[in-house]
Amino acid sequence: MKRVNAVVIGAGAAGGIVAKELSVAGLSVVLLERGKWYTANDCHKDDLRNQRTTVLGNAFGPEDEGNPRVWVDAKGIARTVLPSEGSYQNNAACVGGGTLSYGAQAWRYLPQDFRMKSTYGAPAGSSLEDWPISYNDLEPFYEKAEYEIGISGDYSGTPFHGPRKRPLPMPPLPPGREFSILEPAAKRLGLHPFHIPMARNSVPYNGRGPCMRCRWCVGFACEVDAKNGSQNTVIPIALNTGNCELRTECMAKEILTDDRGRARGVSYFDENGHLQEQLSDIVIVSGCATESARLLLNSKSRLFPDGLGNRHDQVGRNLQGHHYTGAVGFFDFETYDDVGPGATIAISDYNHGTPGLCGGGMLANEFIRLPIHMIDRLPANTPRWGLGHKQAMRHWHKRTIVIMGPTQQIPTAEGRVTLDPTVKDKWGLPVVRFLGNVHPHTFEIGEVQAKRAQAWLKEAGAVDTSLMSYKAEMVSAGQHQAGTCRMGNDPQCSVVNKNCQIHDVDNLFVIDSSVHVTNGGFNPVLTIMAVAYFASDALVRNWKGTGFRS
């Protein structure tokens, strides 16, 4: 197999961007993806089989068969879980990764989100830290992501976001009914509502048409290809350069190293299950926080007995997602207009600045709900089954609004990805074993956020509300998973430097949400993309034609 300049492992939000940036710069690239390449025709509008409601499995991978994980509960009992179960903490396994089927909220983090420890101090028991880069360092790359991927929305209503040079490339979609109910209520409360930034065409952009506003949005491939992910933006550009080869259904086994401790390529199982070796000058791991950590830990050798980048036992630590809380409001008039994507309005008034709370999070109305999502979101005392439940569904389905948001998590060193000592996947590779739980202060913040959502709904006229607040029983990851290969200046307590380069292997990079030091109070994808552009930019600048010089 021909040696190439770069192997990128994982064709998701970050891997697609890295492959594009390197191949446009003239490097030869092999992009490995364990899943398949789906298109708009794979939408299927199946309420029971998509990437959010997985009663009949994940639509976009991984399959239940042969892909277990293990999590250890508070009592120390290890449970083997399937990809369609919540505690698997799945994102996706396909070309585009999560960006094929996401809701596509495309947020910039706030300047404070990169300086959490400086802003608040680290709560006891936490591993809260500052990023080694700032909002200003990322700003040009946020903008690049917004224009190359294609983001619609309007930040002009909020004073809380950091400075920016250009507006978003597309206006927001016209407001839905929930927007028109919630916006004046927020303003009456003195809040600053605005249009959510979305990786979704509101007007024709990048050669594709706009959103047709159906209700099968979050969890689905977009039927009209109006949702923008790496699979329909940067990856096609990478392939069109002629420098990038995408190999699907290829599962990385381990990163190969030479006797001087440098990466020399990747061994992987191809679509027929045959073991292959792809040699390369540099290796980039972009498998998302859980699987990237697993691959590094599975890459053991004489020089790296505990896995790559793991000399100081840092790989897999600080796993974090988001702690979602909010409230359901019940109204005596119709609030539901069956117009997708549903989520339209947000506030970032509560991300920072509450005395006693270490951060907070954005609050927004929920994506359009499928009927199946309503069955357990009815008013308290509704019968759980039978005629009473059915009547409640009929009465409330069009008379509810859900406001919720991602509370920024306080990371801990104990919430982590490790390898299970016994359970293997269908390729015979040790699987992920989750340890730890969410830091308790995160729950306190989440509870306050839920009450704020409730207050907004009441102001909007809700006649009844119920809180969606809970304490998780395991570490949080899921679609927003991040943190397992922390970016930092100190090799003792981080895995990569600010350019996403493994501290002690100069031609090995981790470029994905794994490097996030903290995960903001927002959906993380645009930051994943901005970091990918930032790191690719450094990589290309340091590329010397035949090899990488740091």
């Binding site: 298109t39 025709n41 029971l48 009949l56 290809d225 009927p371 199946i372 089954w385």
Partner: protein, 126 residues
């Protein structure tokens, strides 16, 4: 095997029953591999009322479901969840025939269909 397949189209009364009690038939319709549990329900029904669940009157069906909920809470919750999923889920799985639950909720049926660039050669949208 789902009830709808066994008896042809469900009658209106059976639809009502499906919504009112959560027809366990729908549970099997969307949960392949649960036939053993379905047989358990049918055995309960035959023992108490002498015939299969879908042939019982609505009060009789409700009595069976109540009995089930008391006997085996874990299994009842599974049936309840699968029933809801079948009834409110995509019609293609058989538990929401003719999108009856979506029409009950006042959702447009058929839903809006879009065409991607991949469909443009295929003529008018279905």
């Amino acid at each position: 095997m789902s009830t709808s397949r066994k008896t042809g189209h469900l009658t209106r009364r059976q639809f009502v029953a499906a919504g009112a009690l959560g027809s366990a038939a729908i549970a099997t319709g969307c949960a392949p591999g649960k036939q053993g549990n379905w047989e358990q329900i049918q055995a309960m029904s035959r023992k108490r009322f002498g015939q299969d669940l879908e042939l019982l009157s609505q009060p009789q069906q409700l009595a069976i479901v109540s009995e089930l909920s008391e006997q085996d809470r874990t299994f009842f919750e599974l049936v309840r969840d699968h029933t809801m999923e079948g009834y409110y889920g995509s019609p293609r799985h058989g538990g929401n025939r003719d999108a009856v639950s979506w029409r009950m909720l006042g959702l447009p049926e058929p839903p809006p269909l879009g065409r991607s660039q991949y469909d443009l050669g295929k003529g008018s949208p279905s």
